[in-house]
Every structure is written in structure tokens, then in C-alpha cells.
Point group: C2
Chain length 732, copies 2
Amino acid sequence: MFSEIKKIENLFVLFIIPIFLLLFAPFRLFGEDGYELWLRYKNIDNADKLEEYKTNIQAVYFPGDSPTLQAAREELTKGLEGLLGIPVIFANGSIENGTLLVGTPASSNIISSLKLGKKLKILGQEGFIIQNSVAKGKKCIVVSANTDVGILYGVFNFLKLLQTNKSLENLSISDKPKIKHRLLNHWDNLDRTVERGYAGFSLWDWHKLPDYLDPRYKDYARANASIGINGTVLTNVNSNSAVLTPMYLEKVAALANVFRPYGIKVYLTARFSAPIEIGGLKTADPLDPEVKKWWKIKVDEIYKYIPDFGGFLVKANSEGQPGPQNYNRTHAEGANLLADALAPHGGIVMWRAFVYNYDVNVDRAAEAYNEFVPLDGKFRANVLIQAKNGPIDFQPREPFHPLFGAMKKTPVMMEFQITQEYLGCATHLVYLATLYKECLESDTYAKGKGSTVAKVLDGSLFNYSNSGFAGVSNIGTDRNWTGHHFAQGNWYSFGRLSWDHELSAEEIAKDWIRMTFSNDSEVVNTLKEIMMASRDITVSYMTPLGLHHIMAEHHHYGPGPWVSESGRPDWTSVYYHQADSNGIGFDRTEKGSNALAQYYPEVREKFSSLETCPDEYLLWFHHLPWDYKTKSGRTLWEELCYKYYSGADSVKWMVDKWSSLSGKIDEERFEQVSAFLKIQQKEAIWWRNACLLYFQTYSKRPIPSEYEKPSGTLEYYKNLRFPYSPGIRPSW
Amino acid sequence: MFSEIKKIENLFVLFIIPIFLLLFAPFRLFGEDGYELWLRYKNIDNADKLEEYKTNIQAVYFPGDSPTLQAAREELTKGLEGLLGIPVIFANGSIENGTLLVGTPASSNIISSLKLGKKLKILGQEGFIIQNSVAKGKKCIVVSANTDVGILYGVFNFLKLLQTNKSLENLSISDKPKIKHRLLNHWDNLDRTVERGYAGFSLWDWHKLPDYLDPRYKDYARANASIGINGTVLTNVNSNSAVLTPMYLEKVAALANVFRPYGIKVYLTARFSAPIEIGGLKTADPLDPEVKKWWKIKVDEIYKYIPDFGGFLVKANSEGQPGPQNYNRTHAEGANLLADALAPHGGIVMWRAFVYNYDVNVDRAAEAYNEFVPLDGKFRANVLIQAKNGPIDFQPREPFHPLFGAMKKTPVMMEFQITQEYLGCATHLVYLATLYKECLESDTYAKGKGSTVAKVLDGSLFNYSNSGFAGVSNIGTDRNWTGHHFAQGNWYSFGRLSWDHELSAEEIAKDWIRMTFSNDSEVVNTLKEIMMASRDITVSYMTPLGLHHIMAEHHHYGPGPWVSESGRPDWTSVYYHQADSNGIGFDRTEKGSNALAQYYPEVREKFSSLETCPDEYLLWFHHLPWDYKTKSGRTLWEELCYKYYSGADSVKWMVDKWSSLSGKIDEERFEQVSAFLKIQQKEAIWWRNACLLYFQTYSKRPIPSEYEKPSGTLEYYKNLRFPYSPGIRPSW
């Protein structure tokens, strides 16, 4: 008898386990090419943790059959089987110690018996709890929420605990998003090019939609849902009205169907002139009754295709896009036209504040404020104003946009750029959560100290009824989604911050590293160190001390401080750095453009005074002589040299740090990141040399002798051409 | 003692085998997304075969260390470990029964002792043998060749034997290519768009080259080498001289370095006006000494970057491309200019015959012949004339190009299109080997009966000193390389035929199915049946009875028989179908354009006579009344209806056939092909309805009542617009 049991055990070990391992091998051993992102679900290699998790998750009780719950259960199954390396056993109501309970109180008596009502009450439509509990006298972990999508978020967060090797003791997680609309903005064109995209081409294979649904669409939804993103604008803000025609709406609907179970709504960009282009009207005047009617019918049509359509994102009267000002109407009149059509269906309008008209006598940094603040209070309730983090355009470092805090009656939402238009495009490792946090934590002083940008955004400062975060996507057809493996971390951290802006950049980085690379402490610490330093390093070799907008024209790849002729003066570099024989920098104090007047007094004073203005913003707000003594004791010219050289040197430090992890990172990703870091190192030196050689023509001062001499001449750098750099619209 | 052994055995079974299985799982269990192409190396599921193979391949003796031999050994290792599921044991000269011997006689005494010299002598620089042999008294299989690349080809072919479950008894394979230059032509632009590309975008990530080498480049080389392709033209024939500048040559060199071990040379397209555009000259006149000098220096420079550079492919004086005729020089003078620069380095010029000037009084089908035949004998020895298979432009069915057989002193090489510009673009299942074979086996009668196109191409008919096959690539960034899984079979069959044009389309299909999908006989037979029928089906629903060039403008997606205005008359459809109230078809007999005069008498007579002209070419050569009685007994109009309806119905048959394999094909590929087949079915009906409704406006006859009525109106079909169809150059 004993030997019989042994035999069966042996059989199990001999056949069942290996067969099982093989069955699930695709999940666990799938090529480490980055496709799986942070949802890697690799078998947990910490034996103690594995044991703890197996003990706590011996079975799963997970009732319910909505598409969202099915998606959540599928994810949980895939995750647990990958992480634990054993099949998931689903319980049918017989609860034992170590049964994981997942569900809403409404879905099951067992879960409603846990009396979670009070805790859940404050968690709204998207929150969830994860906690230790006792059900039917058994020790259990419960994942619960008020809604199915709350369950989905709970499941992803539960898996994250395992992925990051957290303890399952004393769990008491209650979480809900601080921001309502958490969206990716895809600047994707219908021909699949992506404006400012550096990771291949658009994921949306319009030609084969709606008939063929690339499995990648679902993985895209999974990744977004896992970090709390609940909306996606499929099309470029430089928009094309064709997407509003039935042929495309049918395709959009097919994508919406894939995304819906994951709590993700689709949005489109609305071209303001669509009534003319596809409607056959003679005008797009927002006050014209025919135009109003056209939009109403069009929006009703959209909702027939997509019953939960999210709404429109609009770039109007900006960089050539049509808008209400073409008809002498205001942005409010334009936005309200669309808002009225959307309101009956619950849709919203996100109206971009990135506008600047053609009067170049005004500082471009001041224009959005000038245009929008007078309109505060004139927008419909379902309109949000979407402002970029800074007043120029996603520069490596900008002060926060003065519009944050200035619109008391109109919700202002955030537009961060995840794609690295100005941050090295495809190949520079720059962790952007530090940039995002810097802006979010900036104090507007709108209602006194502590009136941070984040509090403006989440609505708590002015009691906005709506709130939103948008991130310009860095996602494309590249196998690893984002081109650079580390750019995945920017997508990830944008999502995490859109859910909870109070998280620190460092804790997000650690989670991401653990989920994406390894729980090995050396890996975690080294990568965290690289990531946390990376953005300041990049600022140093690109645009130190508050310099901005000195990149090459059009494609924005590489340095171009010499750009002096363009379609508009404020598309040149010289407009922004103002370098001359006297000095360098843009004077935005009252002696200059006085753009500083748009900030609240405390901010204005801090930035106006050379005593208190941080070095980071020095040349953003001040034009200073080359011999100006900076806080370091060095002259401005010397400080500029110091920053550029130390920035470029620090990339070498990043290269060395990364190299030290050889053997601890899978080969394919290790090699790719190594190659990209070497490109970054080369290009940091390019930026440094080109900028310093150019500014030297004004400063007339030598580069301090302790630094290596630039290898190329200024002429060499000025003559470099990159006509096929990625991320440019073909029509430009 | 016995129990000790048992214990060790158990240990082995318990740990070693599972660990080993897991180690190699990525190769075998890699997601069935089509990335692995026909190099799947899946564990052999036929137990008898597996046993036979394990017995015959117990160890591998494979000396030598050149990059090519390393690549071959790596492939053999990956292949055997995947197919056999056990680690490869490499022998160091101790030969036993079942040792696989791989190497050139020069590489090893053991192999030279086999006395293969006589057999190898006739196999040239690329041939190989695979045979059973006895070495040191042991039964062995030997793979040998005169060169390292021959070994590589031998290894791929040996693995193919296993992949297709062939017996390893009585092996006696001696093989060498019949064609010297076997090339893919990539119509890839430097911005990564692909003209007529339907599988995503260009593989060449120029922006990150030369620093980052996508692992995919190597897999591309492996796939090509496995089917005998030995060259690749990286850039579009609508060319861009920027690729000849140092910045790009450095990138090209990096690709060449990846491809070199796989026996693949890189080629570029040379823009004839490059001396002006990047050389600063005032002219590109081929007789100008400065121009000659410029090209010589440029070519010398290219060879500094790429010592084994293959040469140039040139589209000149065709569709707006510059060429020698801009300077009143001939194509020969243009080609010789480049040939002279390349000759010292061993490079070749492939000069395209796809030209048609602006005199529309001439039948476009006749123009290439008229331009090139008079130049026969005037080209340098390292020039090949590259002609498309038919005289128009890659139509679903064309008669063979009259240039084949007409150039006795100048090697004419073949340009087939693999990408499906006129064959349903991304989503139609059309197996092209039958199209290729139809052309290759066509008899030109140039030297009497049996003077097939293939014999012209391989040089045997006219003793050409050079020979070439080019295929316009269907490869892009799509995960499965070619968009449609079955389009992989077109890449595959092009390669196989370029090596050996005597292979049948059917045997190539069988190999491909076995390697790509399954050795299951139902799968093999069903897919073979679908594939073999597919091209005729497509011709029937698109362009039956010799109709041609009736597709939509520009993007060529879908029907457009009504296209009557375009940049040139011979870019319209009406130019080609000539439908009027009397009848339909292009009269190319002596009563018409007399293009038939360009064929040898036997061919001319066959096609001229309505008695002998096959139905397939009826309207290609004849304009016939709607009531003309066809061989079927039906009138021409009825026959047209019959063809369109039976073609569309046959797609339904394909759908059903494919569906019958449910469960025998992995899920992801099964679903994708199913979706694509449904698109094909929809589009076949679209083609049928649009064409018949249009032609009916001339025929004034009803669609026979046994057929279902077209669902849309002619106006509906005429008004469909697809401005963002893939595969169009952005500049168009």
C-alpha cells in the first residue's frame, strides 16, 4: 500500500509536474524581449516567499461572469500560475484556510458576509480593498470592491504584491483613484505613423479593423488596466476628420469592444472643421445652428457605434489646426459646441490649452494663460481644459504652467508627455516620474501655501467636479512596446501617478523594476539609482540652468541652439535662449516679458529674485551676463560648462552601473539597453559639444581647461542632417 | 548497487530531463505567433521518426570556426535540440555509429577521408551533399560542401529532412543552385514606410543603426539562408540618394556584417541623379567624365564600408525616376556607367526593364521590349536586365514578358513580386508559387520548343554568364513577418524556386506546410489543396479571362474598373479593359497594338488565334463581343459572370476547408487566418459585384438569375475611398 502511494507520487513528480511545467512554460519562459512589460508573472525565485504565497493561496473563490470579471479571473489565473508555478484550483464555495476570495459583496453571500460595506462605501466606482479576513471561520485573503472594474484593479494589485515579493500578512489595502479620467493620448495618424513616436508605428491596424483584432490590443488593455488607466484617445491631436466617418467608427467600435472589459473607454480627437470636411457644410462656426445640429447628429451616431464613448480631445487654433477663432468665436464657444452634443450621453470634452497665436510680441510662455483665464466660468460642466505641465512644450525641465491654479471654475487637467520628443527620442534612458512629481508637487499658492498643482488637478483645491490626467503615449509596434525598455517605466509611472499622485517616484521605480526585471536587491538598487538620477542628468547635457527649446528643428532630435529661422520666431532656438555678447537667458521678470506676473505672488517673487530663483530655472526667467556669479561660485559661463560636462560624464556613470548588472539581467534586454546607453553617451557628448561651441561664439570665453576639448567643430554639428528621424508627420 | 543506479536514473528523469526541457522550452514552446516562420524546430511528434532520428544523430562532429560555420553550428544545435528534445553532444573526432559529420573536406581529415571529391567537384561554391556514409568503419550521415556557405545550406537542408519527417535511410542528396544571384528586393524607404508593403513597416531601423542591431536582423538572415537567398537590396527602387552618404553607408555596413555569415550580400538602389543630389555636380550625364569619376569614387567608398557589397539595382527613366534618357543617353550607357565603377570590386548592376515612356500611342505592354532589345549586346558583362514576369505590372495573371528569350547577349533576370500589391494586399490567401511556375515553364520558343523562361533565366539557353532571380519582398515589422501567415509561404517558395526552378509548386507547398504548421496528413493535404487552388480563385474574382489592371488607383486596394482619369492614360483601367457596347478586351493582335509581334512565331500564333488562345489570356490579347461564344459554350458576358461568381464562391470553400482544421492548428494562427479569410471572402464579393456592375453598363445584359444579386449599387462601390490604405509612399 505504501509503495503504491509512493508510485503515484513518483508518477506525479515524473509526469504530471513536468507536463504541467511545460504547459505553462510559454507564460514563464516567453522570450525576454520586453513584450510582457511589467506583467511578467515569472516563477517566484524566493523560496520562502513562494512557500508563503502557496500557503495563502491554495484555492481561489471568484464568482461572477461579467466580461470584466472574466478578464480579471483570466488575469489572476495567468498571474498565479506563472508566479507560483502550479495550477490554480477554483473553489465553489467550500472555503478553507488559504482560499483567496475575490468578488463584490453583491456577487456572493460569502463575500457579503465579510461585512466590508463600510470600508467599501468610500471607495467609489473604481476602488478596491485587499485584506486578510476570516470567512466561514477560515483564514482568507479577500479582494473586494463595489464594482467589477474595482475587482479587476484589485486583482492586478494583488498580483503586484506577489510580483514585488511583499508579505501577505496584515494586509489592509484600501485604494481608489484620486483622478477621474486617466488617459493615454495617442498621437497616431490613420496611416499608422505616430507624431513624436519613437517605438515603431501605430498599434492600430486600421486597415484590418474591424475584422481582425490583433491579440496585442488585449495586451495593451491589460497593461493599461494594471496601472489604472481608464481611457485612451486613439488619434492624433493634429486630427483627421475621417475618423468620424462610419467606416472608421466601425473600426473604433471594434477596439472599444476589446478595451471595455478592462474598464477603458475610447475617445477621439475631433477636428473642428469636420462639419465642412465630412459634413458638406459651408462653415464650422460653433454658433451656426446647422453646425450645432451636425455635431449633435454626429455624436448620436458615434454613441450608436460605441455606447460608452468617452468624448473628444480637441486641439483648436493651434499650430494650424482649425478652431472657433476662425469664426471670431472663443475657445469656450468652441468647446461648448461639442460639450452640448456629448452631454446627453455622458461624454466629455478635453480642450487643449496648448495654443499660441501669431502675435510674437507676446512671450509664448504667457499666451495660454492670456487666452484661457478670461474664459474661466464660461465652459460647460463636461469640459476640461487640458494643459501641458509647463508653459512652453514638454521641455526637459519647465516650471509649472501658470494656468494651474488660475482657473477656479473650470477643471484643468494635466497633459504630460510620456513619449520622449525632447528627451532623446528613442534611445535615452530618462525616468520621467521625477519630472512628473516635480510639477505635481509645485506649489501654485492659489489658495495659500500647499496649493500644489496636484491639488488643483484632483479637484480638491477648487472643488472641481471633474479631474483628469493625460499622458502622450510612447507606445508603438516595437516588440517591447516603447522602443527603450526603460521607457516602459514611464508608461508605468504615468499610470500609477494618474491613479495616485502622492506616490513617490522612487517607490514607483522600485515596483516597476521588481515587476519588470528582478527582485534581486542589487538590481533593484542599481536601477533605482540610475532611474532617479537620469532626468537631471539629461537636463544637464541638454538644457541646464533653465535653458529650453534649443533642439534641432522639426524632428527635435539632437541639439540646435543655432536655429534662428523657422516658420515662426517662437519656433526658433534664439527666441528662447536670447544669447548675445552680454549674456544668455529669457527675461520673464517685469523688466522683460513679465510672464512671471501670471503666477501667484509667492511664486512670482521666488522666481523673480535672483536670490531665491533656483538654478534649475535661472535662464528660464532671467537674462544674465556671462560673468554672473552663480550659487556654486562659478561664473555663469563656467557653470554652463560644468553642467554640460558633468551631465555627459554622468551618462558614462549610467553605462558603468548598468554594466555591473551583467548576468543579473536576461541577455536580450541587457544587450539592447547596453546599446542604447552607448548611443545616449555619444549623443550626450554631441549635445554638450554643440551647445557649448555655439554659446561660446557669444560668451567669447574658453571652455575650462580641465574639460576635454570638443571633438567636432561648430560647423560640423550645424551641418548634421537627419531628414528621416522618426516621429515626424509625413505632411510636415 | 542496482538501486544506486536506479536512483541516479530516477534523479536524471526527475531533475535533469525536466530542467533540460525547460531550458529549451523557449525554442519549442515559443508563442505560435508565426515569428519563427518555417524554422520552428518543434519537438517531433511522430514517435517512430523521433526514434530513427535519435539513432542516426547520437552525436555531431562539426569542426571549423569561421563565422559562417559558427552560424551553421548554432542553427544545427538549435534545430536538433528543438526537434529531438535532447541536448546535442559534440564529438571531437571519436566517431561512432550515428555520428553526424558536418564539414568541408578541407576542414577535417575525417571528412576528406570520405572521398567526396568527385561528387563535390560539380557542386560549385554553394552546393552541398547529404548522404549516408561510413567513417572509420562507423555508419554516419555526412553533410559536406566545398565551402562554408555550402555547409550552411547543407545544414538547413538536413534540418528540413527532419522537419518534414523524411527518412534518413538511403540519403543521397546533391544539390546546388541553378541561379547565381537570388535576391530579395525591399521597396523600403528611409522613413521606414514600405511601398507596396502590407506587413507593417520596414525592418531596417535606420535611426538606431549602426549602434543597435535588432536581433531580428539575424533571424531575417537565417530565414533567407534557409531557402537559399544570397542577396538583399535594402532600399526602394524609387530611390533616395541619401543612402549613399557616409551616415547611411555606416548603417548599411552594420547590416551587412550581420548578414555576411549567412552568405547574404547587401545591395542598394542607386539613384541616377545622386551625383547632383549628394555630389554637388551639375549633371548626372553618364558620359560626363566628372560623373564617371564621381561614381567611381563613390563605389570605392562603398567598398571600404562593405568589402563584399553586391552592387546596384536601378530603376531609371521610369515613373519619374531620373535616368540616362534625361541626357539623351541609352539605358546601356546608364547601366555601363555604374557597371564600370563596380567591376573592379566584383559588383553587379541590375538594371530594371520596367520602363514605359510617355508616348501612349504605343501599347505599354510593348514598351520594355522596344527599348531594350535594340540594346542587346551593348551592356557590360556585369549588367543584368531585370524584367518583371509579365509585360504590364505584376497582375494576378499575365503572359510571360516578351523580353525573356529576346535578349541573347545580355542576361535577363527575373523580378517576381512576393508582396501582394495586386493580389489582395495584406489579407488574401494567395499562394504565388503557381504563378511563378506558370511563368517559369512558359515556352518562349526562342530556340525552338522547350526554350522555357526558366532556361533563359538560368543561362542555359543563351549561355549567359550571369543569372538572377529577384523577389519584391513582402516582409515587414509585423510579428509574423509577412502580415498574412500564408504570405510566409510566398517568401519561402520564392526562395526555393530561386535555388531550383524545377521544383513543383506542390512539393514546395508541402514542405512549407510541414515545417510551418504540421506533419499531420490532414493538415498537409487540406492546406496544400487550398494553396494550390488559391491563385486561380483570386484571378477569377479579380481579373478573369485575361482582364488586367482594373484595380483602384494609387493604393491598388480593391476594384476600380471605372478608373478613367489619371496622371497618364496607361494608369487608368479603361486603357486596359477597353470595354464598350461592342465588347471587352485589349486587342494585341496585328489588328490591334500588335504587341504579340514581340513573341516568337509559335507563341504569337497560339495567342493570336481564338482557337488556340487559352481562356486565361483571352481578353489580354483580344477585344471580343459580349456575345462571343467561349469554349464553355457560354457567351463572353455569361462566362465573365460565371468566373466572378465561382471565384467568390471558392473563397467560401477556402473558409470551410480552413475551418475543418480547427483543433489541428494552434489557436493564435488559426484565429488570425480565419479572420483574414473572412475579409478575403467579403472582398471577393466586393470585387465581383463592383466589376460586374461596371461591365454591365456596357454589356447591357443581366447577371444570370441563378446568381445572387449584387448587394450594393455601382455608385456605392465607386464612392468607396481608402485614403490610408497601407503601402503607399507618403510622397504620392
